[in-house]
Symmetry: C2
Subunit: 186 residues, 2 copies
């Protein structure tokens, strides 16, 4: 895999730079959106970003259009649909393994920020082993940030994380029978 | 104010389009990041976005660099620093009023998504009246989405909102004395 060269890397060797393991979990909105926002913010700072998007399969997705403007961001799509859409567990597990290989490659290639979108679902459903992911992340180079998203983050991942945010659903338009809005929710 | 023309507006007249009032609150990370991610996603769909950023004053901010790639997004900076940085309440209130004027202009000019970043702090501190903001938002054109962020969303705003997400702090690197990381937290 090739990662485009960054535009600026001023702080590459900065001593205070620590690679954070971040977790966005909970049943509310904004877990993936905050991760994608973080990716674009990091790209704005000239950092190299790899996103592995598990589970989700939709192609009419505003994020994908937006990401085209960021050559610093590489997106690997390791999903074909949520578990109620793709019922073949072997296929889901194969896609998950493919995605984890992309993640391992990104870490080896010197990425600055790795986002594993919806990976918690992959782990929760047993499509990939949590301990294997933790081992991969523990062995990552110093200073590499990782952000994992999805409902039901495994406790072992929460325990290993530096920053954990729970997005809590307080009120949702589904409850008022308003359809998901293009550009806002997808 | 001029808003750049959108690249595509296929769904402009779509009947099922409903203007959502969204609230990101809580003491966790990701409130603004998810809003900025939403802005970039909406821009990816060709929607016109205006962000009024209250309170925050920093200029070394990855979001600002990232937003330059989105001519659909107009940013108005109505802040100079958090309340512990700018202690002159009259000045904060004047900046808040200036920001609200930009918001009103955006609504009148036909924006698709209006983001009021950190506005909850403005309301909570009394720099602007919550009822005045609610009246402005209630009178907005059909189909215009609004997203408000910040800690301590006023209850009246939560009551009026269609979608409310609380970002809860579960674990934060400050607790482990790790410095805020460029590209990740700012």
């Amino acid at each position: 895999m090739t990662i485009p060269a960054p535009r600026q890397r001023k702080n590459r060797e900065h001593r205070e730079r620590v690679g954070l393991l971040m977790v966005h979990t909970g049943d509310g909105k904004g877990k993936s959106t905050a991760a994608f926002g973080m990716a674009m913010r990091a790209a704005g700072h000239g950092m190299r970003v790899v996103i592995v998007q598990f589970i989700k399969g939709s192609r009419d997705c505003g994020e994908l259009h937006a990401l085209r403007r960021f050559p610093e961001i590489t997106l690997h799509r390791a999903g074909e649909g949520f578990t109620w859409e793709v019922r073949d567990d072997d296929r889901q597990a194969a896609l998950a393994r493919w995605g984890m290989e992309r993640a391992a490659e990104a870490l080896a290639a010197g990425v600055d920020l790795l986002i594993l979108d919806e990976v918690h679902i992959v782990l929760d459903k047993g499509f990939y082993d949590t301990d294997a992911l933790l081992a991969l992340l523990a062995a990552r180079p110093d200073g590499v940030h990782v952000c994992c998203t999805g409902r039901r983050a495994p406790q072992a991942l929460v325990d290993a994380a530096d920053l954990v945010t729970e997005m809590r659903l307080i009120k949702h338009p589904w409850q008022q029978k308003i359809r998901a809005q293009r550009g806002i929710e997808f």
